[in-house]
């Protein structure tokens, strides 16, 4: 795994551009490269090969035939726009970047590419119709299958306040906060830290001490809450109550569960899933 690359899935939607902003900040802080990718949906191109396939336009509700050449042309235009956006954003922070246009099945292609990067950033939804709440299928797929960090932008935002961090250990908290700090100047903002206690009671004390120190060093404010018992539904309840501006999650097993994902989706905030400690040590 190349730990110095951040993958950004671009489709020129406002969501993906917000994800690009976040990716640029993270890359800048961590000294990573950016790999932008535009995936030409092979399935869609295949559909255009069938005469009987029809498209219903989202803006005018009018139906028409699908033209292969037209779809290709649209893809090229979207890809060019995505490339340009990446170039501008990366050059602003002088970050090395690369851009690829790949034709293939979106989820599969992304899954392959995720194996080679540290973090994957994308928008929660494409710009396509209908615009639903929650995560799109690609975002859900990435969350489930990614082995590295995942950043999902929501509603055109890359970072909102207050930042809510969920952690189980001091190390997870440290990673989460370093990730948060890497996303911009967070002075004078406050953070919620939702602590899921383990077996070691001293962890909580250490964590509090460390937070106090960071608060002084970084001029930020922390509010720490201990989730007792540290169950999925309890955590979900706290998240609903606190309405995080940005949610930073550790790679917890519940994340794969549909119920928990549904709760996270309703929060309507950007989500950052940080890579677990074992994966970090391995790399």
């Amino acid at each position: 795994m190349n730990s110095k690359r951040i993958l950004i899935a671009l489709d020129s939607s406002s969501q993906s551009l917000s994800a690009l902003d976040a990716a640029v900040e993270i890359a800048h802080q961590r000294g990573c490269e950016l790999l932008g990718v535009f995936i030409e949906d092979a399935e869609l191109l295949r559909v255009t090969e069938c005469d009987v396939a029809r498209e219903v336009g989202a803006s005018a509700a009018q139906s028409r035939d699908l033209q292969h050449a037209e779809i290709e042309s649209i893809f090229r235009s979207l890809a060019a726009h995505a490339r340009q956006s990446l170039e501008i954003a990366a050059e602003r922070k002088r970050i090395p970047w690369d851009f690829q246009v790949i034709r293939g099945q979106v989820d599969e292609t992304l899954t392959e590419l995720m194996k080679e990067v540290e973090v994957t950033a994308l928008g929660s939804l494409s710009s396509r119709w209908p615009a639903t709440s929650g995560f799109g299928s690609t975002a859900l797929n990435v969350l489930k299958k990614s082995k590295g960090g995942v950043f999902i932008a929501r509603n055109g935002n890359s970072i909102l306040f207050p930042v809510t961090v969920v952690s189980r250990t001091l190390e997870e908290s440290r990673m989460a906060l370093e990730t948060a700090f890497s996303m911009g100047n967070l002075c004078h903002h406050y953070f919620n830290v939702l602590y899921l206690p383990g077996d070691d009671p001293l962890q909580e004390l250490e964590l509090r001490q460390w937070l106090t120190q960071v608060s002084q060093d970084k001029a930020v404010l922390f509010r720490m809450y201990v989730i007792t018992p540290p169950t999925m539904m309890n955590l979900a309840g706290y998240l609903q109550a606190f309405r995080p501006g940005t949610l930073i999650l550790p790679d917890i097993p519940w994340l794969k569960k549909a119920r928990f994902l549904k709760q996270v989706q309703t929060l309507d905030c950007p989500v950052y899933l940080i890579r677990g400690m074992e994966e970090m040590e391995a790399s």
Binding site: L44, V52, R128
Partner: protein, 806 residues
């Protein structure tokens, strides 16, 4: 007719004796509080102020310097204190039509309180309403509502997807919508694979795609309706939250104004508007409270909430009684108010908070005093005042609007009901002109407050006048005057009134004299002002303005202007006129000459012939002709041609005060009897020969006196004046001394016969029983000459006829 005797010393001026004054200095006198000598005016003022009927505004007329403004203001100020304080008036936003701000009438002192309370209420709104929207329950409920859009879309699309799946059709996202494509075993069919299907299956797939397409189109078409419904729900939610947040605050305020229905009504409207406008005022488009979202900026909020402010137009919180206001710049805007504008990014913006009051607003319920001339000089001010008084309301609009010159959208504030007494102050000429030329004037200014020019110089009034002088001295913080000085001031007052039995009410001149006397006293290091100081002040004032007078006298003494003061001449006489230059009047002797011959009966006024004679002068000349025709050779045609002229006069002559003088010159020319040049004459003539009163008698006498003095008195010099002017004499002490020493004489003349006998030394003559004048009388000689002219004329014309026949 008995010989005319010159006037005695005591007839030359009405001296004010110190024995008539019962004080030592003005310190002993109590100041005057009330107006003196203006009983008529004060009664009219009282009447005009108290009568409540429409149209009874006041016009205070009289010359300047007579204390009109101060009398009126003092009277009104005293009266106004006893009256109740009028209401406050405020403009508030009209939530239905913001271009038509509404009025609120409030008890005095309440307007400012309401304005402050509303400012505080707005601050409370800004604190409490956003807090209500940051409530978690609100956010959750709003998200629930907003998610309904996507939920309904998702549900509908999901249903289509399911139906499609059953029919082996898949839905795929495209960049611009949704594509429908046939599948088999979950795989998308390309063209070849599709063609390989049985025809029946192909047709079915096509039909199903068409049907599903229609379903998706329906879903898309339905979305705006869903959105609208959601928006309504969100709006209802926002309004409910806002209502809950503000109703308590507004109720509290309503309690404080429970007795005022109009305020209650207004606060209800404020509540409705806040609730209706909650989204605009407190919420971003994207939802409440999420940090970093686009909340309306504080600046935008403050600007939007201006609509809840109260513009206190008239605040009587500090007023005691009725307001009494004096407007010294009665231009249109100052009278009726204005709507101001603020320049913003190249455009002019306004709202109801920028309505400013005029004097009519501020004086409403009380009194407004305006200088009439100032008012008439301001464009459109007079018309606008009349319009307000007629309609009994004040409409705040720009001149452009009122004249329909502009058509841009502007405010139309609700007109304010007007209840004011307007007091115009102006001179008499202005009053009478307005009365004659402006038909509305009589309807709107029915009360004339006519100030007297002078008051009787009775012993009581003299005492009051002395107190008035003491009041002026005190007001200007001058040194005290002794009683001799006050007596001299009183004499000055009579001189100023041009009547020995009157005292002038033109207090400006009196006040000036007091100040100048004080100055001269201080120059002399005195601590008390004496009569010498007063006389000096009078003399110095005359000297300051006497340059032309001195210059003329010098030229006359030198002989540039030919005025004889000795000897006698036929057909020549010294006349007297008054020249008014600035604030100074002086007598100016002139020479009138007359020439006579046989002619057609005309008396030529040379001044009139060359347009240097005014109409009054021409009238005098015609009266003179009438006298001649009526008194001499009535049974014969007047065969006289005479010409009369003011010698060395190049500036024009008007008035008839020299008509008797001109007659004397003519009688001298006709009779051949010389007129003594030691005399100067003034007096207006009637057709009966009566010598009538003239103006400026003191200045005229003193003018000739100064000339005689400059040349050296001969002992027989003097002035002939109309007997009717004797009561107007207030000659200066120098003239009186000269008369006392018999160096100068003043003769009162009632009839031309008296005058001609003094001037010629020959009796005038009366017709005897046979209707003839005695031979060696002036009239007899005149008539004989006129008869001779008539005979000559007849003979001349008879010869003319004979010559023709030849």
């Amino acid at each position: 007719m008995s010989r005319v005797s010159p006037l005695k010393i005591n007839q030359l001026a009405n001296r004010c004796s110190t024995k008539d004054l019962s004080f030592r200095t003005t310190k002993d006198l109590k100041p005057v509080r009330d107006v003196i000598g203006q009983d008529r005016a004060v009664e009219a003022l009282k009447f005009g102020v108290e009568i409540g009927s429409e149209g009874y505004n006041l016009f205070v007329l009289g010359p300047s310097g007579y204390g009109r403004h101060s009398v009126v203001q003092n009277y009104l100020n005293r009266l106004a204190k006893t009256k109740p304080v009028p209401s406050d008036w405020c403009y508030v936003n009209n939530f239905v039509d913001s271009y038509k701000p509404l009025l609120l009438k409030l008890p005095s002192g309440t307007g400012r309180k309401l304005a402050d309370d509303m400012d505080r209420l707005v601050e409370d709104f800004r604190n409490s309403v956003p807090a209500a929207f940051e409530n978690d329950k609100y956010r959750m409920r709003r998200q629930e509502i907003e998610h309904e859009v996507s939920e309904q879309q998702d549900k509908a699309l999901e249903a289509v997807k399911k139906r499609a799946k059953k029919k082996n059709i898949t839905l795929i996202q495209t960049p611009s919508g949704i594509a429908l494509s046939p599948t088999k075993a979950g795989e998308i069919l390309d063209q070849d694979a599709f063609r390989k299907l049985p025809e029946k299956e192909r047709k079915k797939l096509q039909k199903d795609i068409t049907a599903l397409q229609a379903d998706i189109e329906k879903i898309i078409h339905h979305i705006p309706r869903i959105r609208r419904s959601i928006q309504r729900k969100v709006k209802d939610l926002n309004q409910a939250v806002t209502r809950a947040a503000v109703s308590g605050l507004i109720e509290d305020l309503k309690q404080e104004y429970s007795a005022m229905d109009n305020v209650q009504d207004y606060l209800d409207k404020v509540q409705e508007d806040v609730v209706e406008s909650a989204e605009e005022l407190f919420l971003s488009k994207e939802g409440p409270g999420q940090g970093g979202g686009n909340m309306p900026t504080e600046e935008m909020q403050v600007a939007s909430m201006v609509r809840y402010r109260v513009n206190v137009l008239v605040d009587h919180g500090e007023t005691k009684g009725n307001p009494v206001l004096y407007e010294d710049n009665p231009c249109y805007n100052n009278l009726v108010g204005r709507v101001e504008h603020i320049s913003h990014m190249g455009t002019l913006l306004t709202d109801f908070t920028l309505i400013k009051p005029g004097m009519l607003h501020l004086a409403n319920g009380g009194y407004l005093v305006i200088d009439a001339m100032q008012l008439l000089m301001q464009p459109f001010a007079w018309d606008s005042l009349k319009r307000c008084l007629r309609s009994r309301e004040i409409r705040v609009e720009s001149l452009g609007q009122s004249l329909s010159l502009v058509s841009t959208v502007s405010l139309e504030p609700e007109p304010l009901p007007l209840d004011v007494k307007v007091v115009l102050v102006g001179d008499r000429m202005l009053y009478y002109m307005l009365h004659d030329l402006d038909p509305e004037f009589s309807d709107l200014f029915k009360v004339a407050v006519d100030f007297e020019d002078h008051m009787d110089r009775s012993p009581r009034n003299v005492q009051m006048y002395a107190r008035l002088i003491a009041t002026l001295i005190q007001k200007d913080d001058l040194m005290p005057f002794d009683r001799a000085a006050v007596a001299r001031v009183i004499e000055f007052s009579s001189r100023h009134a041009e009547d020995a039995e009157k005292l002038t009410m033109e207090m400006r001149s009196v006040a000036d004299l007091l100040r100048e006397s004080n100055y001269w006293a201080r120059q002399g290091k005195a601590t008390l002002v004496k009569s010498d100081h007063v006389q000096n002040a009078i003399d110095q004032a005359a000297r300051r303005l006497g340059r032309i007078q001195t210059r003329w006298r010098e030229e006359t003494v030198k002989g540039t202007f030919i005025i004889e003061t000795e000897g006698e001449r036929v057909g020549q006489i010294n006349a007297l006129s008054v020249i008014q230059l600035g604030g100074h009047a002086f007598g100016h002797p002139g020479r009138i000459t007359a020439q006579v011959r046989m002619g057609g009966g005309e008396v030529i006024d040379i001044e009139r012939e060359v347009n240097l004679g005014g109409s009054l002068h021409s009238k005098g000349m015609m009266i003179l002709s009438g006298y001649l025709m009526g008194h001499f050779v009535a049974d014969k045609p007047l065969s006289l041609s005479a010409s009369l002229v003011f010698e060395q006069s190049y500036n024009g002559v008007d008035g008839d005060s020299a008509s008797s003088t001109e007659l004397y010159a003519l009688l001298s020319a006709l009779s051949g009897l010389p007129i003594k040049q030691t005399y100067a004459v003034t007096g207006a003539l009637s057709q009966m020969g009566e010598v009538q009163a003239i103006g400026g008698v003191n200045e005229k006498i003193e003018g000739f006196f100064e000339l005689c003095k400059a040349r050296g008195f001969t002992g027989d010099q003097g002035v002939l004046i109309p007997a009717a002017n004797v009561n107007h004499l207030m000659l200066n002490p120098e003239v009186i001394d000269a008369v006392r020493q018999k160096k100068f004489h003043i003769y009162p003349i009632s009839h031309v016969n008296e005058g001609i006998s003094v001037l010629t030394g020959v009796p005038a003559g009366k017709r005897n029983a046979r209707g003839l004048f005695p031979k060696n009388t002036v009239n007899g000689l005149v008539e004989r000459r006129l008869v001779a002219f008539a005979e000559q004329s007849r003979a001349f014309h008879a010869n003319d006829g004979k010559d023709e026949k030849k």
